[in-house]
């Protein structure tokens, strides 16, 4: 009991203890804020990628695509673990906005909007047709025209607050889309003739996925039109990918394994068919693997950030070590007194370990509370700084990030708190051990006072 009482008294009645306590709180505060923002950015980025892709993708990187997709989609639709499937055409094209000489290189994606919305978050990225995705390619101003959905950053710019200036309705604008159709063997389908397929579409909506690269370079086209443009229509129609969404209770890894098995069997069955060769390059990937090239750098940044905070942790250990060393140097008389009344060396270690634990616990509680409060008000603070001093953490006209992520993750907080406590215990370890080794006669001698 005396250990608890003394640990509390040492903590609250020594100014130097307050300094150590504040050092712990400050470190925890910094780690909470930066980790929350960083984790928020990574999580948000992953969610957007997941929403863009669906759960699983069967596809090939080749622009030629693969055939017999309709047969396989029927198999997938019969599977009890699959909620939806969407065939997708992917290629590159040049677009020329009506009335301009300008040509822009873009990626095109041919989709069936309703199916694709069942599998991905496509429907939620629309502005004008969000409530009726089936009309995504029907321009409001003339539903009979062939519409296209344009990545928002191709069409609109962000203001300083990160807002897009949408009109009440989409302006009637044509887009001429030209692309090179390919044969099943990868040759230019129209070699020697016009080379390119060109068709005019009309701007029907914008898509705001929140992924900068997607929003600044992707144009969605109606599936059949895109298939025709890319030379994938005909008797053995081809697609580049099939996006899949699993039922809610199906795990990602498990679902992908099942799809891979189905695909393996299907490819074997189709082995003797004319265009079976195209099936060989098809892979089954989870959304994480499919978007690995984009997600990995952010995860790497997060890992580097964690590594940097390990260094902050080392600094904290050193601060705690110094503070404890000083406290214990001042408390050597107390240690002598305690030993003279029968307190063991182990109890001395426990006393100072308790002191360190309290410092870690209370310091991290204060740091967590301050961090949580700061995160709660962070966007408001940033807005205020922008209004008064034109300061922004990042330029909203350029970056596709709106608010600063500030959703506190309980797991992260618990991890930080435990780390802070362990850090304090580690910092106090050597001084406590030294204290325990002190001989009472050495500390109680008149010459030592």
């Amino acid at each position: 009991m005396y250990k608890i009482i003394l640990a509390f008294r040492y903590l609250f009645r020594k100014r130097i203890s307050y300094l150590a306590f504040l050092a712990v709180a400050l470190c925890v505060f910094i780690v909470v804020v930066v980790m929350t923002v960083m984790t928020g950015l990574v999580t948000d980025f992953k969610q957007k990628n997941h929403s863009f892709v669906g759960d699983c993708v069967i596809g090939t990187e080749s622009l030629v695509g693969f055939a017999y997709y309709e047969d396989f989609m029927k198999i997938l639709e019969r599977a009890d673990f699959i909620e939806g499937v969407s065939a997708v055409i992917k290629s590159y094209a040049l677009i020329s906005p009506g009335g301009t000489e300008r040509s822009i290189g873009v990626e095109i994606m041919g989709i069936e909007p309703v199916r694709h919305s069942q599998v991905t978050g496509f429907g939620k990225t629309l502005h004008y047709r969000r409530d009726d995705v089936s009309k995504a390619f029907e321009p409001i101003y003339d539903p009979n025209l062939a519409g296209c959905v344009v990545g928002i950053d191709l069409w609109l710019t962000r203001d300083v607050k990160g807002e897009y200036a949408y009109g009440a309705a989409p302006a009637k604008t044509s887009l001429t889309v030209s692309c090179f159709p390919l044969t099943a063997k990868g040759a230019l389908a129209k070699a020697g003739t016009g080379m390119v397929n060109t068709k005019t579409f009309y701007y029907s909506d914008t898509s705001h996925s929140g992924l900068a690269r997607v929003d600044s370079s992707l144009v969605y086209l109606p599936f059949e039109q895109a298939q025709l443009l890319c030379g994938m229509a005909g008797p053995d129609k081809r697609v580049n990918a099939i996006h899949i969404k699993f039922k809610p209770n199906v795990g990602l890894e498990n679902g992908c394994k099942k799809v891979a098995l189905l695909w393996q069997r299907f490819a074997e069955e189709k082995g003797g068919e004319k265009k079976a060769g195209l099936l060989e390059k098809v892979t089954v990937q989870s959304w994480k693997d499919y978007r690995r090239a984009f997600i990995a750098p952010m995860e790497k940044e997060q890992t580097m950030m964690i590594a940097m905070f390990v260094l902050v942790g080392v600094t904290t250990v050193f601060i705690i070590f110094v503070v404890f060393y000083m406290i214990i140097s001042h408390k050597s008389k107390d240690i002598g007194i305690l030993k003279s009344i029968g307190v063991s060396s182990v109890n001395i270690i426990e006393l100072f370990a308790g002191f360190a634990f309290l410092m870690g616990l209370l310091g991290s509680c204060l740091g967590l509370f301050a961090g949580w409060l700061f995160l709660l008000k962070m966007n408001r603070i940033e807005n205020w700084l922008f209004e008064h001093f034109k300061f922004q953490l990042w330029d909203r006209t350029i970056y596709a990030i709106g608010d600063i992520p500030n959703a506190v993750d309980l797991k992260v907080l618990t991890g930080i708190m435990l780390s802070a406590i362990v850090t304090c215990l580690v910092g106090a370890l050597i001084p406590s051990w030294q204290a325990a080794r002190l001989k009472p006669v050495e500390t109680l001698q008149v010459s030592q006072l």
């Binding site: 008294r9 009645r13 007194i337 003279s340 009344i341 029968g342 006669v441």
Partner: protein, 231 residues
């Protein structure tokens, strides 16, 4: 006289300290026997080894050679945990500079030895009794009104009486006092000695170290330590 009449026996105690490159012999074969209920004063000049002897008798330090027997038990043969129990229950120390814990109140300082000797549950079970005893001891020593004060709010005499109360808290068989009046004026020191005399009259065995012959005269027996030996 039987062996049972002695509470403490020291035989052939040697102790030396390293000072720089040289070994300084402090005790050079000390033999001492303390009977139950005795009040002994150990006198000697500064550096004669009085405090070292007291620390060895109270198991705060170990001799290089020799044996200390407390009620027939050789202290060099008992384990560390038993040694801690011995310091907690069998002896009470009173130091020249009081050595109270600044963070604790006077009352807390007094019941500290009882608290230190118990687990949390053990302490919770006996805390009322312990606090009552600590209060009674403070009352007997004239510090009833000072129980909730902090040591820095007390005079030197009051601090020393608090230290005596702490030393007596667990009703030790032996009270060891190292220059208990050394830091006090003569009137206050006299008061402390009166406390010791009263305790001794009540049966308490006391070994006191002092360099002052006049103070030593108040004890029942005087042992003079000169150059590491008892004369």
């Amino acid at each position: 006289m039987s062996e049972n009449d002695f509470i403490l026996r020291a035989e052939g105690l040697y102790k030396s300290y390293r000072m720089g490159a040289a070994d300084v012999s402090v005790l050079k074969g000390v033999d001492l026997a303390v009977k139950k209920g005795e009040f002994i004063a150990i006198v000697g000049a500064s550096g004669s080894g009085k405090s070292t002897l007291l620390h060895i008798l109270g198991a705060l330090d170990r001799p290089d050679k020799g044996v200390v027997k407390f009620e027939g038990r050789d202290l060099s043969r008992i384990s560390y945990s038993e040694l801690n129990k011995f310091r907690n229950k069998m002896v009470g120390f009173v130091f020249q500079f009081y050595h109270l814990l600044d963070e604790l109140s006077v009352l807390e300082n007094v019941f500290l030895p009882t608290m230190a000797g118990k687990s949390i549950l053990g302490w919770l079970a006996c805390r009322r009794l312990a606090k009552n005893r600590a209060g009674e001891l403070l009352g007997q020593l004239g510090l009833g009104q000072r129980a909730n004060h902090k040591p820095f709010q007390l005079s030197g005499g009051e601090r020393q009486r608090t230290a005596i109360a702490r030393a007596l808290m667990n009703e030790p068989r032996l009270l060891l006092a190292d220059e208990p009046t050394g830091n006090l004026d003569s009137a206050t020191g006299n008061g402390i000695l009166k406390v010791f005399e009263e305790l001794n009259r009540a049966g308490q065995t006391i070994v006191m170290v002092t360099h002052d012959e006049r103070i030593a005269q108040r004890a029942g027996r005087i042992i003079t330590l000169t150059d590491g030996k008892i004369m």
